[in-house]
Symmetry: C2
Subunit: 430 residues, 2 copies
């Protein structure tokens, strides 16, 4: 019975001692869900600022309430749950726990995206675990799905809708033709967006999750800042109209692909996706992750990407896995640091907004031709004023750098009312 593959039956163990830092919405939901598993886990400490006020929200048995990480570790927990958010304190506390041989469960995507590989090494050296299911796609068990469920496959490609705020904004624009700013305000009033939505809208949030997925699925850990982001802020209601002419709608999509051991291609930004695709079907604040493997083909994971309930479910699943003695699937690690390339080929959608006059199409077509970019079609909806007229050029598959250079070339032309806005058309990834 000493073979670790055949441990003693779970029920015979003492409950796993759990300490929780961060008693906000998610932390409180975690504490509630843990009570369903009292035979396996016991909450022994809660760490939060303003203990007196927070303690009033607690109706469970007597436990250690503290504002200090020293007190937490003095309780000798088996698992430390980090839900304090932010970067430096969270990272320090995670590292302190792991260094003390205490397994860690966290929802902190920025810390894992930036220093996850180092922290995983520390966990391995101390024979404890670091789990972070809640850091990507909330309650959707995509990390477990990749590390364990798809462990037998050779994975090549991960794409998805990783930010529920952007998806809420874009699907509201799609459904009711709202302008971007109105959709943002609506998302804020409903609690789906922060007062400052920059991190969501510009892709900073999504690229952290993408970096984590890259580490877990592809064994390549690009620094988040090496992943090119394009904002969804330029997306206008008229883009949905034109997209529909092309059989598409618009989503914020993140993707990362590993074509060979040394080439990682990655990007986060608005893209046209076919109306019939899984990505198009994601509505409201839903998340969706598509994982491609050589043997298994495409596997999709979808669900609620944010909110206290779903995030707490992911945290508790990680805690239970540790309590049950499960070892997570190994993360294959690339030996040298790898940067994400932003070069890829796709068809493109480019919307121009111009002060209309003769010769505009000719000027644009010449600039594209100089960069060997082939125009597929020119689309123009009627009903817009001549001095602010949107029209769209669709472009055959070509490299993003050629498109961007052609657009830079055109930027000095004096008919632009708004900068040209380009999005790739992702027919092939979902």
């Amino acid at each position: 019975m000493t073979d670790p593959r055949r441990p003693a039956v779970t029920e015979a163990r003492q409950p796993c001692r759990v300490a929780l830092a961060g008693f906000g919405t998610v932390g409180q939901a975690v504490a509630r869900l843990l009570r369903d598993h009292a035979a396996e886990v016991e909450l022994v400490a809660i760490c939060n600022r303003h203990v007196a006020r927070k303690r009033a929200l607690w109706d469970g048995p007597d436990i250690c309430w503290t504002e200090s990480m020293d007190d937490v570790l003095a309780q000798h927990p088996d698992v430390f749950i980090e839900l304090v958010g932010g970067r430096s304190t969270a990272r320090d506390w995670i590292a302190r726990a792991l260094d003390a041989g205490v397994s860690v469960v966290t929802a902190n995507k920025q810390v894992i995206a930036e220093t996850g590989a180092t922290l995983l090494d520390l966990a391995a050296a101390r024979a404890c675990q670091l789990r972070f299911e809640a850091a990507v796609a909330g309650g959707v068990p995509v990390i477990t799905g990749i590390r364990d469920g798809l462990a037998g496959d050779r994975l090549t490609h991960v794409s998805g809708i990783l930010n529920g705020t952007c998806n809420y904004i874009l699907t509201r624009m799609e459904a009711d033709g709202l302008p971007f700013t109105d959709a943002v305000h609506e998302a804020q009033s409903l609690g789906f967006a922060e007062a400052d939505p920059t991190d969501d809208v510009d892709g900073i949030d999504a690229r952290a999750k993408l970096a984590i997925l890259s580490m877990v699925a592809l064994g390549a850990t690009p620094s988040p800042s090496s992943i090119v982001c394009r904002s969804i802020a330029p997306v206008a209601a008229v883009d949905f109209l034109y997209a529909r002419h092309l059989g598409c709608t618009i989503r914020q999509v993140g993707w990362v692909a590993r074509h060979d051991p040394d080439t990682l291609v990655s990007r986060v930004g608005p893209a046209l996706v076919p109306l019939s695709s899984a990505l198009a079907r994601a509505q409201g604040s839903e998340n969706l992750v598509i994982v491609s493997g050589q043997a298994g083909g495409e596997t999709t994971f979808g669900g609620r990407g944010a909110g206290g309930g779903p995030t707490a479910v992911a945290v508790v699943a990680d805690v239970l896995a540790i309590a049950r003695g499960s070892q997570p699937g190994r993360i294959l690690r690339h030996t040298s640091p790898i940067s994400a390339s932003s070069e890829f080929a796709a068809p493109f959608y480019v919307r121009f907004t111009v002060d209309d006059r003769p010769g505009i199409i000719a000027a644009i077509a010449s600039a594209f031709a100089r960069h060997r970019v082939n125009i597929d079609a020119v689309l123009q909806e009627p009903g817009y004023p001549a001095d602010r007229r949107p029209f769209v050029v669709s472009i055959d598959a070509t490299s993003v750098s050629a498109v961007e250079q052609a657009l830079a070339d055109m930027s000095s032309l004096d008919f632009h009312v708004l900068p040209p806005f380009a999005m790739p058309v992702l027919s092939s990834i979902g």
Copy 2:
């Protein structure tokens, strides 16, 4: 270091010894994929009839080839992979392996659906594992997703497209208006359907998978035969036309819901699903499973439900999990046997095919009224001959038994050219 939560680092272990029974398409794919993990697993025996012929397909290192389960166990494997299919031999071999303390990985849905609970008890008593990811939805890691990834939630409801053959047939009818028999023949010629497709078409295959999902997600193990099945064979091309008028398409859907500890509702059969739903988006031989939890809401798992590659990925993931010492999430078990009820309420679609004459609507409406079934609308497409005219009655939400009793009442009316064909409209489940 004796705490089972902190076992020795994986790399220090001897490779896990694996024996494989069944060297067909899936078995060969499993053997290939296992070679990617030589540090963790070692294939030590292959058991198959006609050893001499099968051995010629093997280009790996020298191992034990045999036709006997005694020889397999004499190799002292850590894991036995059962891919022989069928029922009695497979069940006997699984039980023999578990009884010898050897963990088992199987893709055998009928054995797990019928005797999984007993075999899991045997595994627990012998401190070994029984895993069966490949038995449901091929390569889609839905069992792991439920047992581990959603372990923190209270799950209430599972639904999905569990049979790729039926989905291929229905989506071909949907796309090109093929008659049912033509779509079946096409599926057979492409290898998506058996020469005798009865088990797929009538729902026997899907209900075995649904029984397994019920055990894993809801802790209730109905016998597969207690789950009501309705065949997709009566579905006609015209049904897709009418369904579209109602904003729907048609899928074979299995679902199981646990409303309270003693009430399990379950069914497999053709149903109308909204065009905007995840179920409608599943194309060709794809599988899709939707799991609902009290805290996490709906989580979806989709991908390739059959084929050597995806099935092998699931088998290898289970083997690696055992090799790494992972304990699967506990399956909560209902203490008393539970039967699946077939009673549920939904809006219904009923297609009549009649020899047209005055008074038919009146006769049908009276029969429905006698059973307190409320008609929502009557739809009739032009262009069909009067002596074989299809029309559709849509019905407000009501109990399936009331609809079926009303239809039984009408069966003696002499205008029917085909028996009335009823399908529930599942707006609420996906």
